[in-house]
C-alpha cells in the first residue's frame, strides 16, 4: 500500500486511456499504443466452467492441505482441507467455504486449490468470474506463483496476485506483484475501489493480461493498473511459467483475525477460470 503514490501518475494516464484501451482489448483487435505494448490473447487454453457437480476437476486442480509453515507464512488461522465441506462444485460454481470449526488444532477450515504441475503457463490472459466472501478477517485470493518455486524459493520465484481482498473492505480489490527485493510489505500493489458496489453481492471478473515485461490488472471492464520492469525495484521475474492458486484464508497478518461479528460460514463462488494465450 506504500507504493500507491508510485502509480498515481500512471494511474491517471491509464484511467484516461481506459475506455479506448478496453474497447480494443475486448474486441480482440490487434492494437499498438504509444505508451503500452498490448498483446491480445484470444486462444482459450483453459476453461474451467465448473459444470460437473462434485470435486473440482482433478486434471487441473490439486490441494494444499494443512496449515503450512507459520500459517502459510502469514500466520493464517485456517486449516486447508480437500473435504466437500470446504470445496465443492455445485450448480455451475466452484464453492470454497471457510468455516469456523475446531479441526486438527485450528479454529477455522477452508480450501486452497493449486494448478501446480497440472497447468502452468507463461504469459496470457488469466481471468476468473467470482463472488467473494465478506467480513473482518476473511482473505480471498486468486493468484499465481512461479512454477520454479521448488528450486527458486519465494520471493525469487515471483508472485502475481490477480485478486486479493480484505473482508472488512468489501469494495476494495488489490492487485499485486511480489519478487526479489519487493515482497511482502514492499510488494508492488494497487487497490481498486468498486464505485457504488461491492465484491460480495454479485459476480465480477478479475483478470490480468500478462505479456513480456508487463502485467495489466483489470476487473470487469476496468483496467486499473499496469506493472512493468520499470516499476519494480528488483529483478523482473515474470518472464517464465506460473501456476494458479485460489483460496479463502482466514486471519493472518494481511487482514487480522475475524472478530465476534464475522459471520461464518463464508463462501467464495467461482463461476469460471479461463486462460488464453
Amino acid at each position: 500500500m506504500n507504493n500507491q503514490n508510485l502509480f498515481s501518475t500512471k494511474g491517471l494516464l491509464l484511467v484516461a486511456k481506459r475506455a479506448v484501451l478496453f474497447t480494443l482489448l475486448f474486441s480482440y483487435m490487434n492494437c499498438t499504443d504509444d505508451k503500452q505494448k498490448v498483446v491480445n490473447f484470444t486462444n482459450l487454453v483453459l476453461a474451467e466452467e465448473f459444470d460437473v457437480n462434485g470435486p473440482p476437476n482433478p486434471e487441473v486442480w490439486s490441494y494444499n492441505i494443512g496449515t503450512g509453515q507459520n500459517g502459510w507464512g502469514n500466520n493464517e488461522l485456517q486449516y486447508y482441507t480437500d473435504r466437500p465441506e470446504n470445496v465443492t462444485v455445485q450448480n455451475g460454481y466452484m464453492i470454497i467455504t471457510a468455516r469456523k470449526e475446531s479441526f486438527n488444532g485450528s479454529q477455522y477450515t477452508s480450501a486452497r486449490l493449486v494448478t501446480k504441475g497440472k497447468f502452468e503457463q507463461q504469459y496470457g490472459r488469466f481471468e476468473a468470474r467470482m463472488r467473494l466472501p465478506w467480513g473482518q478477517g476473511l482473505w480471498p485470493a486468486f493468484w499465481m506463483l512461479g512454477a520454479d518455486i521448488d528450486d527458486n524459493p519465494w520471493p525469487g520465484a515471483g508472485e502475481i496476485d490477480i485478486m486479493e481482498l480484505r473482508g472488512q473492505n468489501p469494495n476494495i480489490l488489490l492487485g499485486t506483484v511480489h519478487g526479489p527485493g519487493y515482497s511482502g510489505g514492499q510488494s508492488i500493489s494497487k487497490s481498486y475501489t468498486l464505485p457504488n458496489d461491492r465484491f460480495d453481492t454479485g459476480f465480477h471478473v478479475f483478470g490480468i493480461e500478462w505479456g513480456p515485461n508487463y502485467i495489466n490488472f483489470y476487473v470487469d471492464d476496468v483496467l486499473y493498473n499496469q506493472i512493468t520492469p520499470a516499476d519494480v525495484p528488483g529483478e523482473w521475474v515474470f518472464n517464465k511459467p506460473f501456476y494458479i492458486l485460489m483460496n479463502v484464508a482466514v486471519g493472518g497478518n494481511f487482514v487480522g483475525a475475524p472478530n465476534t461479528e464475522t459471520v461464518f460460514p463464508q463462501t467464495m463462488l467461482v463461476d469460471y477460470v479461463r486462460v488464453y494465450n
Binding site: W134, G135, Q136, P170, D197, D200, V263
Partner: protein, 466 residues
C-alpha cells in the same frame, strides 16, 4: 409492497374497463400511462430545509434546541445545530424533534440516510433516525447510542427495506439528553438519502436474535421486541438499526395456537405449541418465539369477602391494594424477569428465570402487627423435581422505617418440592408468627426465592389478614 401491488391492480382494472367500454379493444394499459408517485427528492437538509420539510419538537423537549447555524458547517452555507440542555434546564429536559415532509416522499431508490456530524464533546446520541411522523411511525428506523466526536464524521443509517418506503413522511428524527447531567452542542450537515450501493448482507433479527421460549395460557398477549436490521457497510462495520414491526412479515407455525399481527403482537388463542418467526424483505430474521400454551388460564381461587379492617392487600383484584413501588426490583445478582401482567383481564404476576425477586412497598411501609396470616397463591407449570423449592421472605425496615441502619429484620419460610404441585394454584396461608420477625410495624418487602430451581411462577392474591 402489498399495498403497491393492490393499487396497481386497481388502476389496471379501472383503466381496462374504461378502454374496453369505449373502444372494445384488447389493449392493456398504455406504456405512457403514469401512476401517481411521490417525489424522489433525496435532500433533507443541505444548506437549509428541503422543500416540504418541517421542524416539530417533542413535547417536554427544549423547543428551541434546534437552530440553523451559518457559522459552523461541514460544507456549503449552513448546518443543523442542536443544543442539548443541561439537566434541570427549565426550558426542557432533552433535545428531540422530528423533521417530516407530510406530503411524503418515495425513498425506494435509496439505501441509506447519511449525514456529517460533530459535537462540542464526545457524546452518545440516544436515538437518531427517520420514519417518525407523529402518526403511525410505520417505518420508524432508529440508530441508538450513536457515538459522536469533535471531528466531522460521516454517519450512515441504512434503510431496513427501501422497497417499502414508497410514501415516507418521516425524513429525520432524534432525541438526546444531557451527558452526565451536562448539555452540549452537536451539528449535522449534508443530511440526505443516498444510494450508496455498498449497504449489503442484510441480517434482520427479532428478540435481538435470541430464540425465546414462553410458557403461557390462552389470552396472553406478547409483543415481539428487539426488531432490528443489520447491514455490513463498506467500512466493514456491521451497522444495526432498530426497525419498526411493519418492515417485517410475521408468521405463526400454528394459527390454532397463536396469532401474530402486522405489528408483531402475538395473541395466544389455543392450547399447544407454535413458533413465531419473521422475515424482512424475504430474509428470515434471526431469533424466534416458541409458545407453549397450556390452554385456558386457570384463575387463582377468589379470596373470600372480608371486612376491609381485617385485610392488608398487596396484590389482589378482590381487595383494595396498598401502594406498591414495584413487583420486581431487578436487584443485582438477580436473574428474575417479569412482573405484573394482565391475563384475560385478570391482574397477575409472572416471574421468569426466577432466582429471587422482591415486591417492595415502602411509600409507606405497612404495619402487620395486628394481622395473623399471610396469604399467597402460586402457580407452577413446569415439572417439579426433588430439590426444587420456593421460599417466601418478609422484610421489615425496623423502627427507623428505612432500608438499612441495622434494625431491619427479614425471615424466610421454605416450601420444599413435596409441598408444591404442578399445574394447579397452590394457596398458602402462613401464620405471620412463623416468620418470627423482630419488627412487624414497618413491613416493606415480600421476596420469592427459588435459587433457579423453579424458573417460572405465577403469583396472585398477596395479602395479610386476620
Amino acid at each position: 409492497m402489498k399495498n403497491l401491488t393492490i393499487k396497481h391492480i386497481a388502476i389496471v382494472i379501472l383503466s381496462g374497463t374504461m378502454m374496453c367500454t369505449t373502444t372494445s379493444c384488447e389493449r392493456g394499459l398504455s406504456e405512457d400511462a403514469e401512476f401517481a408517485t411521490f417525489p424522489k427528492n433525496p435532500d433533507v437538509f443541505i444548506d437549509g430545509f428541503s422543500g416540504g420539510l418541517q421542524y416539530l419538537p417533542f413535547g417536554g423537549s427544549k423547543l428551541d434546541a434546534f437552530k440553523v447555524d451559518t457559522q459552523t458547517k461541514y460544507s456549503g452555507t449552513s448546518s443543523m445545530r442542536f443544543d442539548v440542555p443541561n439537566v434541570n434546564n427549565p426550558g426542557g429536559a432533552f433535545a428531540g424533534a422530528i423533521f417530516p415532509d407530510m406530503a411524503g416522499r418515495d425513498l425506494t431508490g435509496f439505501d441509506a440516510l447519511t449525514f456529517w456530524a460533530k459535537a462540542t464533546t464526545a457524546a452518545t446520541i440516544n436515538e437518531i433516525g427517520f420514519g417518525n411522523d407523529f402518526g403511525e411511525n410505520k417505518f420508524q428506523t432508529t440508530l441508538t447510542n450513536m457515538r459522536i466526536s469533535t471531528e466531522w464524521t460521516k454517519y450512515i443509517i441504512p434503510l431496513p427495506d427501501p422497497s417499502q418506503l414508497v410514501a415516507e413522511r418521516g425524513m429525520f428524527w432524534y432525541a438526546e439528553g444531557p451527558e452526565n447531567g451536562n448539555g452540549y452542542t452537536f451539528w449535522i450537515d449534508e443530511l440526505k438519502f443516498e444510494k450508496l450501493g455498498t449497504i449489503a448482507q442484510p441480517r434482520p433479527a427479532m428478540f435481538a436474535g435470541v430464540d425465546r421460549d414462553e410458557q403461557t395460557f390462552i389470552g396472553s398477549v406478547i409483543p415481539i421486541t428487539g426488531l432490528t436490521q443489520t447491514f455490513n457497510l463498506a467500512s466493514g462495520v456491521n451497522q444495526t438499526v432498530t426497525a419498526a414491526p411493519s418492515y417485517f412479515a410475521f408468521k405463526s407455525s400454528d394459527t390454532d395456537v397463536a396469532l401474530v399481527n402486522g405489528n408483531g403482537v402475538v395473541t395466544v388463542v389455543g392450547e399447544g405449541t407454535a413458533e413465531i418467526t419473521a422475515t424482512l424483505n424475504g430474509i428470515r430474521a434471526r431469533g424466534s418465539l416458541t409458545i407453549e400454551s397450556l390452554g385456558e388460564f386457570l384463575q387463582a381461587p377468589t379470596p373470600p369477602v372480608r371486612n376491609p379492617a381485617n385485610v392488608i392487600s398487596v396484590f389482589s383484584d378482590a381487595y383494595t391494594n396498598i401502594p406498591v413501588d414495584f413487583y420486581n426490583g431487578f436487584f443485582g445478582f438477580q436473574t428474575t424477569l417479569g412482573g405484573a401482567i394482565t391475563l384475560n383481564g385478570q391482574n397477575i404476576i409472572q416471574y421468569i428465570n426466577l432466582n429471587f425477586v422482591a415486591t417492595e412497598f415502602k411509600n409507606p411501609t405497612i404495619n402487620i402487627s395486628q394481622m395473623t396470616h399471610f396469604h399467597v397463591d402460586i402457580f407452577i407449570s413446569e415439572p417439579i423435581t426433588t430439590g426444587d423449592f420456593i421460599s417466601i421472605e418478609l422484610g421489615d425496615f425496623g423502627p427507623n422505617n428505612v432500608f438499612g441502619g441495622g434494625d431491619d429484620s427479614a425471615k424466610r419460610i421454605q416450601f420444599a418440592s413435596t409441598s408444591l404441585t404442578r399445574n394447579q394454584w397452590i394457596s398458602l396461608d402462613i401464620p405471620i408468627a412463623d416468620f418470627a420477625l423482630a419488627s412487624r410495624n414497618n413491613l416493606a418487602q415480600i421476596f420469592f426465592i427459588s435459587d433457579g430451581t423453579i424458573s417460572t411462577i405465577l403469583v396472585d392474591n398477596m395479602y395479610f389478614y386476620r
